[in-house]
C-alpha cells in the first residue's frame, strides 16, 4: 500500500494506515485503518464486530509484525480462544509468542458500589501494562460500552472515555473500539462522539428470508474511502468483504485469443475464438445446451493446462460429470489433476451479494484462467435488476482486471427476444452467443448465432448444431427461398435438391445424345451427297474425255480430208489447233 501511496505523487501526504489484512476491507479503506488512531466499529449483536477486531490483531501480529492487545469486556479469554480456533487462529500460541495479549475486563453493576469521586485510571494502567508487556502496536476494545452497565455515574464515565481515546492516540497505538448499534444514536451510548477518525458500520439484514452482512465506512477523516455498502462474508477463513479493486474501466486488455472448445464456433468468431479476459454469455431457452458449451469451454481450457472454476447453481458436480461424459466431455481427469474445481450451490442458499462474495473468494484463491457460471440467471433471480447490475459490474471488473475469461450461461424463457432485464446485463457482456430453439415440421432443432462479439469480425450466420456423443457438432444450415431448414427438413430439402440436380443432369445427357445422333445423320447425308457429287463429277469427266477424243478424231478426219483436197488451213484453224493441242498436253 505504501508503494501505491507514493506512486500517486510525492506532493500528497497520505494518512499513514495500518492494514487490517481482512480481504476487501483494505481495498475499501485504501490501505487499512488510520495508524495510531482510534477506529470505531459499530454493529448489532452478532454482526461480526469481535471477529473483525480479532482478525485485525491476528493479521497484524502474523502478517505485519505488529503485536496486539485484545481487551475484552464481554467474552472471557477462554471463549475468545475457542471462538476463533474454528477459523484456524491459535490465540494461545500467539500469546505464548508475545504477539498477542488478552485481558478480560469484567464489569458488572451488581457488585460495584460507588462511594465518591473516582476515575478509570486502573483501566488505563491495565491497558498500558498489556501494551507495554508485548510492545503492542494495535489494540482492540470490545465492547467498551459494557462499562456503562457497570458504572452508574455516566458523567465521570464519559469524561474518562474521552480521556481514554486521547490517551490511546498519545500512546500511538492503532485502536479498534467496538460498539453496539443504538436506536437514535449510532452507538447505544454515543461513542461516535469521541471517536471521529474512522467509523465502520456492520449490518446484518434479512431480506426475503435471505440474510446478508454488509459493511460501510461511514467516515474516514483525512482519507478517501469507498462509501458504498459492501456485502461481506464470515466463513471458515474469517471475514471477506466483496472488494472493488477496479475504480473504473481502466483494465488493460490483451489480444490473445482462446478457443471456445468448439472448433466451428471459433471459426464463427473470426476464426480464433474468444479474447482472453473477455466476458462471454451463452443465452438460450431450456435444453439448448448452454451447459454443454460451458463444459466444452472448460474442457478446452483444462487441456491447455489452465486452471478453471465452474460454478453451478443447478447441478451437483457429480451430475455435471455424468452428463458431460454422455456427450464425450470427460471432466473427471481435470478435477483429479486439480485444474478444475466445480462448486455447486443452491441459489437460494444466500443472497446475491453473498454468492458473489463467495465466488470472488474462490476466484482469488484459485486464480483460474477461466470461470464458468452456470447459469447466471439464478443469481439474477434473487436480486433486483439494479442490484444485479451493480454486483455483476463488480464481478466482471474483477475478472477482467485479472484477465480471467468468464463464460456465463443465461437461461431465457421467451423464445423471441431477450427480456429488458437480460439486456441490462447483456451490456456488460463482450461476446453474446444466442442459442435458438427452432421448432418446425414436428421436431425441435438447435441453432446458434453470435449476437455480438466486441472487437472481432464475427459471423452473422445462423448455424445449426447438434449435441452428439462426440460433443457439440456444427452443421451448415440450409437457407433457401422458403426460409431456413433444419434437422430433418434440411435433409429432406437437401435430398430434394439432389434429385432435382440429378434430373437436370439426366436431361442434359439425353439432349447430348440426341444431338450426337443428329450429328451422325447429318454426316451420313453429307457422305451421300459427296458420293453423288463425286460420281457426277466422274461422269462429267468421262464426258469431257469422250468429247476430246471425238474432237481429235474429227480433227484428224478434217486434216485427212484437207490433205486429200490439198486445202490449206486457215490461220484461225491453226490457232485453234495449237490451243487444243496445248490443252491436251496439259491434261
Amino acid at each position: 500500500m505504501r508503494d501505491t501511496e507514493q506512486s500517486r505523487g510525492p506532493a500528497r501526504i497520505e494518512l499513514p494506515k495500518s492494514p487490517t489484512g481482512i480481504r476487501g476491507l483494505d481495498e475499501i479503506t485504501l490501505g487499512g485503518l488510520p495508524r495510531g488512531r482510534t477506529s470505531l466499529v459499530v454493529g448489532k449483536a452478532g454482526s461480526g464486530k469481535t471477529l473483525l477486531g480479532m482478525e485485525f490483531l491476528v493479521h497484524g501480529a502474523l502478517d505485519f509484525g505488529e503485536p496486539g492487545v485484545f481487551i475484552s469486556f464481554e467474552e472471557t479469554p477462554g471463549d475468545l480462544v475457542e471462538n476463533v480456533a474454528s477459523l484456524g487462529y491459535d490465540l494461545n500460541d500467539l500469546q505464548e509468542r508475545n504477539l498477542l495479549a488478552i485481558d478480560h475486563v469484567e464489569v458488572s453493576r451488581s457488585d460495584i458500589i460507588e462511594t465518591g469521586e473516582f476515575d478509570l485510571e486502573a483501566l488505563f494502567i491495565r491497558l498500558n501494562y498489556a501494551i507495554d508487556s508485548i510492545g503492542a502496536k494495535r489494540i482492540v476494545l470490545d465492547t467498551i460500552e459494557s462499562l456503562f452497565s457497570g458504572i452508574a455515574n455516566t458523567g465521570i464515565l464519559r469524561a474518562e472515555l474521552r480521556r481514554l481515546f486521547f490517551w490511546l492516540k498519545d500512546k500511538g497505538v492503532t485502536a479498534v473500539v467496538t460498539g453496539e448499534s443504538g436506536g437514535t444514536t449510532m452507538t447505544r451510548h454515543g461513542l461516535e462522539e469521541y471517536i471521529s477518525d474512522c467509523v465502520i458500520l456492520l449490518d446484518h439484514r434479512v431480506d426475503d428470508q435471505i440474510s446478508t452482512r454488509r459493511l460501510r465506512v461511514v467516515k474516514y477523516r483525512g482519507s478517501v474511502h469507498g462509501t458504498n455498502e459492501y456485502p461481506f462474508l464470515i466463513d471458515e477463513d474469517g471475514i471477506s468483504v466483496l472488494p472493488i479493486t477496479s475504480t473504473g474501466l481502466s483494465h488493460t486488455v490483451t489480444s490473445e485469443r482462446i478457443s471456445s472448445g468448439v472448433e466451428r464456433l471459433d471459426a464463427m468468431l473470426d476464426g480464433e475464438g474468444f479474447y482472453r479476459g473477455s466476458t462471454i454469455m451463452v443465452a438460450g431457452t431450456p435444453g439448448t445446451g448452454k451447459s454443454s458449451f460451458g463444459a466444452s469451454f472448460v474442457n478446452a481450457a483444462c487441456l491447455r493446462g489452465e486452471k478453471c472454476l465452474y460454478f453451478s447453481f443447478e447441478e451437483s458436480p457429480d451430475q455435471i460429470l455424468r452428463n458431460m461424459r454422455s456427450i464425450g466431455i470427460d471432466l473427471a481427469p481435470h478435477i483429479e489433476s486439480g485444474l478444475l474445481e466445480i462448486h455447486s450451490s443452491r441459489p437460494t442458499m444466500y443472497g446475491l451479494e453473498m454468492h458473489l462474495v463467495m465466488l470472488l473468494k474462490q476466484v482469488q484463491e484459485k486464480q483460474p484462467g477461466v470461470v464458468v457460471i452456470d447459469p447466471l440467471t439464478d443469481l439474477i433471480a434473487i436480486g433486483s435488476t439494479k442490484d444485479v447490475k451493480v454486483m455483476l459490474t463488480r464481478l466482471i471488473d474483477y475478472l477482467k482486471t485479472n484477465r480471467i475469461t468468464a463464460l456465463f450461461t443465461h437461461l431465457v424463457y421467451t423464445r423471441k427476444k431477450m427480456a429488458p432485464s437480460d439486456l441490462a446485463v447483456s451490456s456488460l457482456i463482450d461476446t453474446l452467443i444466442q442459442l435458438l430453439d427452432i421448432e418446425s415440421t414436428g421436431e425441435r432443432n438447435r441453432g446458434l448465432y453470435v449476437l455480438k462479439s466486441r472487437g472481432m469480425r464475427h459471423s452473422n450466420q445462423i448455424r445449426e448444431y447438434r449435441i452428439t456423443g462426440g460433443g457439440i457438432e456444427f452443421v451448415d444450415v440450409y437457407v433457401g427461398p422458403a426460409g431456413m431448414f433444419m434437422g430433418t427438413a434440411r435433409l429432406v430439402q437437401e435430398a430434394k435438391e439432389r434429385a432435382e440436380a440429378e434430373a437436370r443432369r439426366d436431361e442434359i445427357a439425353s439432349r447430348q445424345r440426341e444431338l450426337e445422333r443428329e450429328r451422325s445423320i447429318m454426316e451420313a447425308r453429307i457422305a451421300l451427297l459427296q458420293n453423288e457429287f463425286v460420281s457426277r463429277e466422274g461422269e462429267l469427266q468421262r464426258m469431257i474425255e469422250a468429247e476430246s477424243r471425238r474432237q481429235r478424231v474429227i480433227d484428224a478426219d478434217t486434216r485427212a480430208i484437207g490433205e486429200l483436197r490439198k486445202a490449206d488451213a486457215s490461220d484461225d484453224d491453226k490457232k485453234i489447233r495449237t490451243i487444243r493441242e496445248e490443252t491436251e498436253e496439259k491434261r
Partner: protein
C-alpha cells in the same frame, strides 16, 4: 443452639445493634484491599476515609492492604479493577467492590456489610 435467645435480643435492640452483635458473635475478620494510583489527593483521601471507617467499626478485626497499581499493574488485572480508587472486601463473603474516594460513608458501610441498606 442459642437461636431463641438471639431472637429475643433482636426484639429488644435496633436492627443495627443486632447486626453488630451478630458480627461480634461470629467474630468475622475483614480482609480489605484498597487499590490506588500513587499518592494522588484522591488516593490519600480514600486511604484516610477507609482507615477512619474501619477503626470506628472494625477495630482490631480487619486487615487493610493498600496496593499502588502503578507499582503492581498486574494486580489490577488479577482483581478485575477498572476504576480507582477501588476497595475490595475480600472477606467476609460475598466479595464486594467499592469504587470512589470512600467519602460517602453510608454507602461504604452498606458495601462492607456493616450497615444494612436503608
Amino acid at each position: 443452639m442459642a437461636n431463641g435467645k438471639n431472637e429475643n435480643a433482636k426484639d429488644q435492640y435496633s436492627a443495627t445493634d443486632a447486626f453488630e452483635l451478630a458480627l461480634e458473635e461470629t467474630d468475622a475478620r475483614y480482609v480489605l484491599r484498597l487499590y490506588v494510583t500513587g499518592m494522588t489527593p484522591r488516593s490519600q483521601k480514600a486511604i484516610e476515609n477507609i482507615k477512619e471507617i474501619s477503626e470506628e467499626h472494625l477495630a482490631g478485626r480487619y486487615d487493610l492492604e493498600v496496593i499502588d497499581i502503578y507499582q503492581q499493574p498486574e494486580r489490577a488485572q488479577e482483581a478485575q479493577v477498572v476504576a480507582t480508587p477501588t476497595l475490595i472486601k475480600q472477606l467476609p463473603l460475598p466479595l464486594r467492590k467499592l469504587i470512589g474516594d470512600m467519602s460517602d460513608k453510608e454507602r461504604v458501610l452498606v458495601g462492607l456489610g456493616i450497615q444494612q441498606k436503608e
